[in-house]
């Protein structure tokens, strides 16, 4: 069913339309939340919170963005609120990340040689927002334009953050492999 039709039904309070939205996007919402929170149970909670929130939130949806973009924005906001509430959002401040990147410039690791467990660890070092941004771009193939809408940032900032995050992850992996 077309997004516009689903939106119309959602505005009308249709549970079937919500079920269709669940079928289409719940997995992506869950994985995005998991990338941000690094906790399966909390990610499931966010998934449910987001979908419980949809029938009310859709009333204010102006249809300017795609439905999945809007849904990801709800997810990112819900995750950020949770992280702020738990005061766990101090994992790695932007300045800290910049310092690390400046100290460890240099690339060479190809994507295909990534060790998944090590990659998880490297990603965990990134701030939650940047981690989710990288996930949406590289795993979900979202456009920078959509990311700019989700995170409410200029496209240039998104590109810069993604570039720094990729550098950081690659350097992290390279460093750890050299240590082994």
């Amino acid at each position: 069913m077309d997004d516009k039709v689903i939106i119309q039904h959602l505005i009308g309070g249709s549970r079937e339309a919500l079920a269709m939205l669940w079928q289409a996007h719940s997995k992506n919402v869950l994985n995005l939340a998991f990338r941000m929170l690094k906790d399966r149970d909390q990610a499931e909670d966010i998934l449910m919170d987001v979908f419980v929130q949809v029938p009310k939130a859709i009333q204010g949806f102006q249809g300017k963005s795609a439905l999945n973009t809007w849904l990801y924005r709800l997810t990112v906001n819900a995750c950020l609120m949770k992280l702020r509430a738990e005061k766990r959002h101090r994992e790695l401040e932007e300045e800290h990340l910049d310092t690390i990147i400046e100290e460890a410039l240099g690339t060479g690791e190809t994507a295909s040689t990534f060790d998944p467990a090590l990659l998880e660890k490297g990603l965990a070092e990134l701030p939650a927002e940047t981690r989710s941004m990288l996930w949406l771009k590289d795993a979900e193939d979202m456009d920078v334009k959509d990311l700019a809408e989700i995170y409410d940032m200029p496209e240039g900032t998104i590109k810069a953050r993604l570039s720094r995050a990729r550098h950081f992850v690659r350097d992290y992996l390279k460093e750890r492999k050299n240590h082994d």
């Binding site: 919500l18 869950l30 449910m48 419980v52 990534f114 998944p116 990659l119 570039s163 990729r166 550098h167």
Partner: protein, 117 residues
């Protein structure tokens, strides 16, 4: 460098089987928690207060003539029919005297009249 990070080897989660049922249960609970009778939300109380004040004002305006009529209908008793002769003669002589002295009514007569009244 814009080449993507390879996320393909990372685990992709699937929502738990009962998650959708939980969402439905929460939505149902929310719907029950907001019964149809609970139309006026807390926010709307802000506008309900001036409306109530307006109603009260209109009601008072409507009641005022009725109260005035009731006041008009109170029985007026003439002093002539109720006062003793001493009081009446004192009352009728007020202002007729040529002297500047104020013609006072005897205290006991005045008190007994007031107590009677």
């Amino acid at each position: 460098m814009t080449s993507k990070i390879d996320f393909s080897k990372l685990e992709r989660l699937t929502p738990r089987a009962d998650s959708w049922d939980k969402v439905c249960a929460r939505l149902d609970a929310e719907a029950h928690a907001t019964p149809a009778g609970k139309i006026i939300s807390i926010k709307s109380w802000y506008s309900a207060i001036p409306i109530a004040a307006s109603f009260a004002l209109v009601a008072l305006t409507a009641l005022m003539p009725a109260l005035n009529n009731r006041a008009d209908s109170t029985e007026t008793i003439s002093i002539n029919s109720s006062a003793p002769s001493e009081v009446l003669s004192w009352y009728s002589s007020l202002g007729n005297s040529t002297s500047d002295d104020f013609d006072t009514l005897e205290e006991s007569v005045g008190f007994s009249y007031l107590i009677k009244e």
